[in-house]
Subunit: 163 residues, 2 copies
């Protein structure tokens, strides 16, 4: 496939992500965000923001699509897949990408577009880089016996599945 | 309640989070991470990492506990609740905290303890601060007609629930 054809394909899937965003919003399921996961020309899953429909603050379009795609292929890894999102992922969804490990992420609208719609992720982007004690949300570490030891139990576990 | 009593209470819940981490790991459900959500002295939900059990890369302990707590109270906001986690949240879970908006987050082990167990979140923390084009994972923005417009449709929507 030529580079131009590849770009056309990316744009078609992004257009679909925008359609899903519009659909989800009009259905009252949540904010105007859509996403899909594609591998080898096959759509593994589509998703849209369902925060309001499910009372789940983590049900962003990308998380919803990633969960559905992983369920569809029976794996917690999206190896060789591409995630298409109608908008630049928020930090939570960005973290989800690194755990799901797709080959690439394409998005259409930017975080500035989202901010204009009242979805201001920039505060979260700023907070993540801060030391826990410096964040606006209270984050406190307290030492508890055994808290670090579970990690050596994990690395010593004979039948563990590394991930 | 005195400050000392409050600290004792936080430590008891954190100890429970560590128990859940150990339980989940030994059950083979996922890595050694546990979390619970408490409000007004009532445990709304407990959770542990279920990435392996559910093939869901987003099923970290905190996300699992937040989703269950929100389902239990029928709200996408954890107002006045406290999240207790056996370990410092990864960037995905940190993002989930900001969307769920609990009053506070307490954790026991640190990201350095987790790294010693092979869970190196620091790469993700580093990547999140970078410009999308500079990340090790391919992140590309492509302009698509209508992508920004869904946000004005959202702000114009008479019956929308802001969140």
């Amino acid at each position: 496939m030529s580079t131009g054809d590849q770009r056309e394909q990316h744009l078609r899937y992004l257009q679909r992500a925008v359609e899903l965003a519009d659909h989800g919003m009009r259905s009252g399921d949540g904010g105007p965000f859509g996403a899909l996961v594609v591998r080898g020309g096959q759509v593994l899953a589509e998703g849209w923001n369902r925060v309001l429909a499910t009372n789940d603050p983590t049900a962003h379009a990308e998380v919803t699509a990633i969960r559905a795609a992983c369920a569809a292929i029976g794996s917690f890894q999206l190896t060789d897949a591409i995630v298409y999102s109608s908008c630049e992922p928020c930090p939570m969804c960005l973290g989800a990408m690194y755990w799901a490990r797709p080959a690439a992420v394409y998005f259409a609208a930017t975080r500035d577009d989202a901010a204009a719609g009242g979805f201001d992720d920039s505060m979260i982007y700023d907070e993540i880089g801060l030391d826990p004690a410096a964040r606006s949300m209270v984050f406190r570490q307290l030492p508890v016996a055994g808290a670090a030891e579970v990690f050596s139990s994990w690395t010593d576990k004979d039948d563990r599945t590394p991930y």
